[in-house]
Symmetry: C2
Subunit: 273 residues, 2 copies
């Protein structure tokens, strides 16, 4: 599996991807999921991929080659056109491979996050689906996740909004990734983190994070430690508190009442041997 | 959907369930997922259910009725036998319904957590599958989740171990539930929380938690607030730090190197019009 997350903030874009890939638990290896397309001063685009690795590598190959001079990521006039070129690449791979995959009982499974900025336009972020269609991040919904997304979603939901500074957003993405790494063995290091500052039109902040990375280790240690500390500071429930209305004990229900928590009790208990 | 979690600790058992059920987004209603079987002084058993509601209600009905005098939750000699009786109830429903469900294109989907204590034995916790087989919680793996489990898993993985006091464990279950509620609309209030103290052999701590519950509201507010606070206290990544080895910037890779993060650049950039 995979976990990738990207955020579109007022200050720019944050992209983070893991690098674990597996075809069954006995076939685990490392494949990075991030591809950067850059023409300094003119455009920076980042592609994150999840799903069938053969499909996403084919998509990446098509996009990196950009053989069609008239319609490629290098010539796209804006990010919407660029996203549709990514979608077309997915459809091209679908046309080439989907039938054979179906014959083999394999779903055409790929999911992409694609974002960046082209000179003259704002930074934009898209989620491209296996059908080649896509949606764009908005201020109300300013991030996308692909792959094993659920473990790392709550912390993002609690923290991320467009006004979040880039450093905070990168930190949040790493905490989200840490939660995922901790709970799911199919997601693994190294991580690729790219933070794009709006209007920089070049990659200035990219890092590949492995076990030795001091900052990520600090986050892992500090976050877990402080989380337990905060948790310890919150009062435990008081079952014998003076306000029982807040904690009503279950009443004995002799009959099953569906739609209610059932407290079945055995009337004939006395007859047990 | 559903989210239920239960933990087996040295001090006892904690059970928490939500009450949202849905058959599509236009058919959402409330159905509680907790059933308590109690014979004070002799046994307390708690069943949490996820999956197809018709199946889990049928299982519950069979277990609550306990028609087979010789083999019911009321007569089981130990929790292992009780768990196998739950498994048998699942198989009984399967025998009755699975064919018709399959004809209708519906999977036989049910997942149960079942735990408690019978006089003379320790408290035990089981995860019962749709096939009627089951596994038991161990000190190494002392909790089970069913339903929408992923959102609330990281916080449990960070905090729960058998030595955790019951109050802390209940609090952790509620934080885990809060994270799930925040990220997934298919899980909803009210919640049923039951905390069982080893050897009490009766239900002493049960509460149904709705929007008005002051303790749960405190947890939701405090946890979110303190989480943001702790998050703010952790340093942002420093991209221009004195130790660039920790944050190496990506090197320009002119060629695609698969297995590496690809930084594709267009050599013919100068020829663009």
């Amino acid at each position: 599996m995979t976990y990738c997350v990207a955020m579109r903030l007022d200050a720019g874009l944050v992209f983070l991807s893991d690098s674990r890939t597996n075809a069954g638990v006995d076939a685990i290896s490392t494949a990075r999921k991030m591809t950067v397309f850059e023409e300094p001063g003119d455009r920076v685009m980042v592609l994150l991929s999840a799903g069938n690795l053969a499909i996403s590598q084919s998509v990446r190959q098509i996009l990196a080659e950009g053989r069609d001079e008239k319609r490629s990521l290098w010539t796209a006039r804006d990010m919407f056109e660029a996203a549709s070129i990514v979608g077309d690449a997915v459809r091209q791979v679908h046309k080439h491979d989907a039938h054979a995959l179906r014959e083999a009982g394999i779903e055409f499974n790929v999911s992409l996050i694609f974002g960046g900025q082209i000179h003259g336009e704002r930074a934009r972020l898209f989620h491209v689906y296996a059908a080649g269609n896509f949606v764009e991040a908005t201020p109300e919904n300013c991030y996308f996740q692909i792959g094993e997304a659920k473990y790392g979603k709550p912390i993002i939901d609690r923290l991320v909004e467009p006004s979040l500074p880039l450093g905070e957003a990168a930190k949040c993405a790493l905490v989200s990734m840490d939660s995922t790494l901790k709970s799911n063995i199919s997601v693994g290091l190294p991580l690729d983190l790219l933070v794009y500052e709006t209007d920089s039109l070049r990659v200035t902040r990219f890092v590949s994070i492995d076990e030795k990375n001091a900052y990520f280790r600090m986050i892992r240690d500090t976050w877990g430690h402080r989380l337990r500390q905060v948790f310890g500071e919150i009062n435990d429930p008081e079952w014998d508190a003076a306000a029982p209305a807040e904690f009503p004990l279950a009443r004995q229900n002799e009959n099953d009442r569906w739609g209610q928590p059932v407290r079945a009790s055995r009337e004939r208990a006395a007859t047990r041997d």
